[in-house]
């Protein structure tokens, strides 16, 4: 596997910008804060407070959910859009919302609120106990095999803040692997990126400089492990962080798998 790129040691940068710095577009709200868990009679809901307002993030479900709850003991990066939906669990609903766990431990994030009658989750797809039906996962039918003429295709893998690979990464990775093997790709080029997210207070949260390399190397290595021939694989990374505008910055935390016939 061919690798190139430049590694520069750095630490996580939460860099305050000048007073005149840009802020996210209207409606978008991005911040780092402790998550809060509130119990209900059914499943707990997750909240976070920012500048005196409480925001609703989502509820506990399981691995099939789009929303993965954050962790007490860690801060979370919240990237969302303020919706006009009625509040849930006392929080302003962010929709869509992306929540990433900040890897560093923070014992101050330890707020667990008891259930109150005024906060109800009535339509939880799954309660805290066993499911009422057996099927936890609904397998989708396999995609049809690709047909010629084969073209160069990009598959984009998205990441939580400062993560190398996760559940949400698997779909695109598996699609890329399936396509590469089906067309007997001549090259599978993996490029890793890192991002600098614009927060609502005008500061930036920038991923460490080595995460782009980790993403590329780990993704390429995993593709090899699941059957993409090593001789076709290459891993590169872009050292410069992609600067977000405060809207959809989560899409900048990515790697691209380019499959070349």
């Amino acid at each position: 596997m061919r690798r190139f790129g430049t590694a520069i040691a750095a630490v996580l940068a939460l860099a305050a910008t000048a007073a005149a710095a840009a802020t996210p577009p209207a409606g978008h709200i991005n911040f780092v804060a402790c998550p809060i868990i509130r119990d209900t009679k059914t499943v707990p809901c997750w909240l976070s407070e920012y500048q005196g307002k409480l925001y609703y993030l989502g509820i506990q479900f399981d691995a099939t959910a789009d929303f993965y709850p954050p962790y007490l003991g860690h801060k979370a990066l919240v990237e969302g859009v303020v919706s006009k939906e009625p509040s849930i669990c006392g929080g302003i609903v962010l929709k869509p919302v992306k929540v990433s766990v900040i890897p560093d431990l923070d014992p101050s994030c330890n707020t667990q609120l008891p259930a109150e009658d005024q906060y109800q989750i009535k339509d939880a797809p799954r309660g805290p106990g066993p499911r009422y039906h057996a099927q936890a996962y609904t397998p989708q039918p396999p995609p049809p095999p690709p047909v010629p003429p084969f073209t160069t295709k990009d598959f984009v893998v998205y990441y939580d803040y400062q993560s190398e690979l996760g559940a949400r990464s698997l779909g695109a990775m598996i699609q890329a692997m399936t396509y590469a093997k089906a067309i007997k790709a001549s090259r599978v080029e993996v490029t890793g990126y890192r991002a600098s997210m614009l927060l609502s207070d005008g500061s930036r949260l920038t991923e460490t400089d080595w995460i782009a390399r980790h993403r590329a190397e780990r993704l390429a290595n995993t593709l090899r492990q699941i059957g993409v021939p090593a001789k076709t694989l290459s891993a590169t990374w872009v050292q410069q962080p992609a600067r977000g505008t405060g809207a959809d910055d989560d899409k900048l935390r990515r790697a691209v798998i380019r499959v070349v016939p």
Partner: protein, 567 residues
Amino acid sequence: MSPSIFSRGRRVAGVVATLLIGVSVAAAAVLAQSAVDPKAPGAIGVTAGQVPAQNVQAQTAPLPKPSDADETQALYKATDGWFAPGSGAFLPADGAFDDASGKLGVLNTSGQIDTKGHPFFEPMGANGRACVTCHQPADAMSLSLTTIRARWSATDGKDPMFAPVDGSDCPNLPQDKESSHSLLLNRGLFRIFLPWPPRAADGTPIKPEFTIEVVQDPTGCNTDPVYGLKSANPMVSVYRRPRPVANMKYVVGPDHGLAAGQLFNPKNIAMPMALDPDTGKPVTMQIMSDARDPTLKTQAVDAATSHLQMAKPPSAEQLKRIVDFEMQIYAGQAVDSRGGSLTEADGPKALGPHNLAASPPGILGDNYDHPVFYDFNAWKTRAPNATPTQQAFRESVARGYDIFFAKPFWIRDSQHINTVGVGNPAKRTCATCHNQQMVGMDLASGWVDLGTQNLPWAEQGLQSPLASGAPQLPLFKITCNAEAPPHMFLGRVIYTHDPGRALISGRCMDVGAIVMQQFRGLAARAPYFSNGSAKTLRELVDFYDRRFSIGYTDQEKEDLINFLSVL
């Protein structure tokens, strides 16, 4: 000895498997499975990556004195229920063995076995042990502390079970002293020695994400110049219970692998599953405390060349007979001294070895369509012929199952549980994780850090009533490098008695993570947890109660214990 005796099989490629990934973004698809990755943990041929290095140490360790083994043979039949290596005894097709709360049923679906010449029962190695030494039918194919002590008493410590290689705290200790076998005699623990750094399938080192320091070494083995971490053949010694070799279709899957061809480990979702070196199929990764061996066959080689001190792996025919035998043995409690027969026709459908043999494996039981242990409704109402004691016990069991299945509590700070999409804490029940029907293992294979090994929750942490007294287990300081994904709830500096899967994967996030065990035959094989830290089912329940601040009442604890004891 030279590692070169271990043959390497050819790589297997092109096996078609079906992908089933349980995440919303993934689809089922038919994929061509890859060959075993020689640079990831796993096995090539019949040999897992750690085995050649282990075998070097096993061949270095002294053997029991020859005369001791001879003397011991004469004592073999003195202990009821004990299957001595090479004794030639018959294992009945449908046996019953006394245990702490009644009788354990052991079913051999192929019928009675003449153990004479059978490689599971014959001492194949140099130290007089056989597989059966540590996997006794009367102990649910594991080994109870009661049996261990009985063997010590019956043989004056000369049973091959107490062989220096791993039946003592360290081979360098005077083997005739009881104190040299303290972990086996007090907690039922055998020494497991694993190469450091970890080994890939091809035996080459894996670069770990952390350094390991020995903080406390009460057995002396981790700092020993011959057997320790800084020896010429660096090894980490940890101490673990032997797991039951019964009901194995639930452990390895119906076809010795994942029927659905699951490509990724659901608990550690970025990690591809290990592959069976013979078939190229993904395996369940549920064997042993750390899933270091992908199949029962490679596990047999691992065990034979370390525990039995065989110089070479067993033959292909011997391995086949061992694996065939392991796949046909079922063990479950059959009689309770208070509850009576557990296998009545109209009784609970989950109990007894025959039901274990008849039920299909691989059923997700955390739901009301296929509950983990079916139901105990038959015991919730008074049976016409039941005595008051019997009825009270059965009602208690039924309540215990309801608590296990449906009572929520907060699962907190558990790596590979809280990190798989449910958040921290998560409001769930015992059945959330103990979810495979009939056995209570997690159907989503893999390892979890429950806190049994890592401080602060492990025994020497402040929370434990076992914190007082002299240290028994080694304690390691793990320091993870700055670029490694950390253990999400302990960070990058972790104190642990046993790094668990991390000794195989080299990953920081795996420190202290142990593969979940099955629930069957519990009454016959105390103590519990991989480090024997729960001497009784009460201590096991107390650990969970303490660990997750559940707040069980005494009645609830008794109900749970009674429920667990009939499995």
